[in-house]
């Protein structure tokens, strides 16, 4: 009983290779995810459920786009910008993609420095990640404003199939919400890192469980997932 309530993973058992190892782990009458803490396993399972949500959004977009008889607006043109007198297609989205990838890079390094117990570098990299995220959301706000000014509405737009607007606002809006929550999450954890909560294993005010640097990795999982979803949105909605 006490064994199942452990919050930190036990000693690693030597994994058996291949499918036999999976069967052994799942049928071991204990927890299936050995030497993975409950926090990390739960984050993965949450991300799996979130994957299904975004899959459904992208699927409904696919269904709308495949079944409409009206031509779909060309995203390359819709999201083009005039920069320095030049008309560059899709440039805003490209910049947003690079910003989000950069934020993933800084996050991965923050996790690394966290496990090395480098408090200041971890917090600094997490805050850099949050700053990239905030930049991304502001650019998205700019994009929304631009499109709304041009007359895009959930029920119609000047260029073609009326479903374009509802798909766009639903998918990018939900993703933007995830980024915003991620930024808040990052700032909250970075503050704890900077305060040294995980060096003294201070208990959380809400869960009263001891804090470990693993929370940086769990936060990172969420953040990388947000980047991952953007990879699919970029491919299917903006490039397709």
């Amino acid at each position: 009983m006490a064994e199942t309530a452990l919050t930190n993973p036990g000693q690693p058992t030597t994994p058996i290779a291949g499918l036999r190892g999976i069967a052994a782990d799942w049928s071991s009458d204990q927890r299936a995810f050995k030497n993975v803490s409950w926090g990390k396993a739960m984050m993965w399972i949450f991300l799996l459920s979130d994957t299904f949500i975004f899959s459904c959004f992208l699927l409904s977009y696919m269904t709308a786009r495949m079944s409409t008889t009206v031509p779909w607006p060309n995203p390359s043109e819709v999201f083009a910008l005039n920069l320095g007198g030049k008309h560059i297609p899709l440039i805003l989205i490209a910049i947003m993609t690079f910003i989000l990838i950069s934020s993933s890079g800084t996050m991965a390094m923050a996790v690394n420095f966290g496990y090395r117990r480098d408090r200041v570098k971890t917090a600094a990299l997490m805050l850099a990640t949050a700053a990239f995220g905030a930049t991304f959301v502001s650019m998205q706000a700019f994009e929304w404003t631009k499109l709304i000014m041009e007359g895009v509405r959930p029920w119609g737009n000047p260029w073609g199939a009326p479903q374009f607007g509802s798909c766009f606002f639903l998918i990018t809006g939900f993703h933007g919400t995830h980024v915003t929550i991620g930024v808040i999450f990052l700032i909250a954890i970075a503050r704890k890192v900077l305060r040294g909560d995980f060096d003294v294993e201070r208990r959380g005010f809400f869960t009263s469980r001891k804090g470990y640097y693993e929370i940086v990795e769990i936060t990172g999982l969420y953040w990388h997932f947000v980047d991952l979803v953007w990879v699919f949105i970029f491919a299917f909605f903006y490039l397709w």
């Binding site: 190892g21 071991s28 495949m66």
Partner: protein, 130 residues
Amino acid sequence: MANAAVRVEESQHSLQAHVLAPAATHAKGQQHPIKLYLVVWGWLFILSTCSYLVDYFGIHGNLRWSLICLFMILKAGLIVAVFMHMAWERLALAYAILIPPVLVLVFVAIMAFESDYTHLLRVIFFAPTA
């Protein structure tokens, strides 16, 4: 037989876990050289640039879609495997998380079939008669 051996091994390990100081358990974690992350970061930049260039040069048809999908899958794979450390997790977790999203492809196939049918009906019955 193998199962029993696994169980014995398990209980030995949990005994050790109790005896050993907890500090030893969470001092470790995912430790990889920073260079690995920088290399993956570089590749993600290259792949994103490539997928942007597909649009910039206006490549069309099957080539466009296969290139977009290729770059997308490579990017997603790099993020999940390295940044999210899935490459170093036990297979029991990796399979439990990675297989279900792949099964969404069945749903994709169903909906593609359905929307083809809807499209056909719209073309037949709701075509503009002008």
